[in-house]
Amino acid sequence: MPDEQAWREIAIGGTEINPGSTERVNTGAWRSEMPIIDFSRCTHCMICWVDCPDACFEISDTRLAGIDLDHCKGCGICAAVCPTHCITMVPESSVPVKSSESGA
């Protein structure tokens, strides 16, 4: 674990040298509700993508492909802003999904 490194082993001056490395932090554990996308109604307008605080919407070739549940905190903004109401928030405990899998 990086937080066990001794003083000689870390970057000086507190400079963080691994861009984007907070991705190793599983903020999905914060979640109490999970977004579920009904792709049959999704128009790939990307409003959910642009309004997500946690950059959780996975895009493939300009189309919505899934949700990064390792980082989704379950705020529900996506469900609130979706013009076609194709995203639903459901209680975390009701969906037995491993966090590394897509929420789709």
């Binding site: 490194q5 003083w7 870390i10 000086i12 001056g13 507190g14 400079t15 963080e16 040298i17 861009p19």
Partner: protein, 402 residues
């Protein structure tokens, strides 16, 4: 509006200039990427003269006329983290306003350079010299070097970036010069030819910098209780490393300039039975007082501490070993402390000497109070008396106090 730079720089070497102008001359030769400063007496000679170099296209520097000293050091932090060499200059209250960023600069390990023209801290408002400002930053992980005259103001300014930027150091550097007595005194100053100075200081080549093409590092982030301690320990190591780097760079500079500078400067200490320890420009009057006392048959010498942080403990011990009684000249008060700042250091440095000298502390020169030869002679007589009585006074003496 665009500014042009002159193709070649040919300035006649100055003959007689003041300490502020000497610093500005060195800064022109160093040609830092960024200089950011705010006017404050007695620092203004530096920034006025440097502004003329900028106006005449004699430097490539971006000179930022900031709106405060806090901003001056903040701009230097940004410039240095971006990959540029950065310098500022200030005095007393200006340093006090910068104080938050003094610690940021060293904590971020940014090797910027500040020329500190020492001035008393308010209140009461006082624009004249003492070392209250320098003493307030003595634990902030900056390398601090005290010069004693315009020549040293120049010489130390040339050496400063080469110490600060050394890969084993990477700490900011304060070139401490007494306000007025150094900054405003006109003396003969020998300068290096531009090409020699430029070749000595080279360019700042950091390993990581924010403007690095393709770079994506985050500078100055948050440490929780899991890393802050470790980063502070690294600063201890860097401070320790800097001492020998300073020594090497001063020696290297002496080869180029013919002017020998040491971490501590000794005067007639070899056979001395008593001694005075001093920082900065008062050394001239102290030497004069010593000459007078020597003529009266007193075996007295002087130790001037040039490198104040890191404190050159071994050099001080060596210089003071064999001296029976030492008077320490403090130009600032450490209110409520068991001793004033320089005295604290001398006590610690000498405490394990086999025959520790008797020590006594003198406070002098606060707020620009005159520092005549006779005052230091008086101090010598006090030290001689202490030696004869074999007793250390518990409290400091106040020289020149009514």
């Amino acid at each position: 509006m665009t500014t042009k730079q002159k193709a070649s720089i040919t300035l006649p070497a100055p003959l007689a200039i003041n300490g502020g102008e000497a610093v500005a001359y060195a800064m022109r030769q160093i040609d830092p990427e960024v200089v950011a400063a705010y006017p404050i007496t007695p620092q203004t000679f530096i920034i006025e003269r440097f502004s003329e170099y900028v106006a005449d296209g004699l430097v490539s520097t971006e000179y930022i006329n900031v709106e405060s000293e806090h901003a001056a050091l903040s701009a230097c932090v940004g410039a240095c983290a971006a990959g540029g060499r950065a310098q500022t200059a200030t005095s007393g209250p200006g340093l006090a306003l910068m104080f938050e960023i003094v610690w940021v600069a060293s904590g971020m390990r940014l090797p910027l350079v500040m020329h500190l023209c020492s001035r008393a801290l308010s209140a009461p408002l006082n624009i004249l010299c003492d070392h209250s400002d320098a003493m307030a930053m003595r634990e902030s992980s900056w390398i601090m070097m005290f010069g004693s005259n315009p020549q040293e103001a120049y010489d130390q300014a040339i050496v400063a970036p080469t110490v600060a930027e050394h890969p084993d150091v990477l700490l900011p550097f304060a070139n401490v010069l007494d306000g007025f007595t150094v900054t405003h005194s006109v003396e003969r100053v020998d300068v290096l030819p531009d090409e020699d100075a430029k070749s000595f200081v080279g360019e700042y080549e950091p390993e990581r910098w924010a403007l690095q093409p393709g770079g994506g590092a985050t500078f100055g982030g948050l440490d929780a209780n899991d890393f802050y301690f470790e980063h502070k320990r690294q600063q201890v190591e860097a401070m320790d490393n800097s001492l020998e780097v300073v020594r090497r760079q001063l020696d290297k500079y002496a080869e180029l300039s013919g002017r020998k500078m040491s971490l501590v400067e000794e005067y007639l200490l070899d056979d001395a039975e008593v001694a005075l320890v001093v920082l900065g420009s008062s050394e001239g009057m102290v030497r004069a007082a010593i000459d007078q006392a020597r003529a009266d048959g007193i075996k007295v010498g002087m130790l001037r501490v040039r490198l104040f942080r890191p404190f050159p403990v071994a050099d001080v011990r060596k210089a003071l070993s064999g001296v029976a009684a030492v008077g320490v000249l403090d130009r600032a008060i450490a209110f409520g402390a068991p001793a004033n700042a320089l005295m604290q250091d001398i006590v610690m440095a000498t405490r394990t000497l086999p025959e520790r000298p008797l020590l006594m502390d003198f406070v002098y020169g606060l707020g620009g109070r005159n520092t005549p030869k006779q005052m230091f002679r008086e101090a010598i007589d006090h030290v001689v008396l202490a030696k004869e009585q074999g007793a250390e006074p518990e409290s400091p003496a106040y020289l020149g106090l009514r």
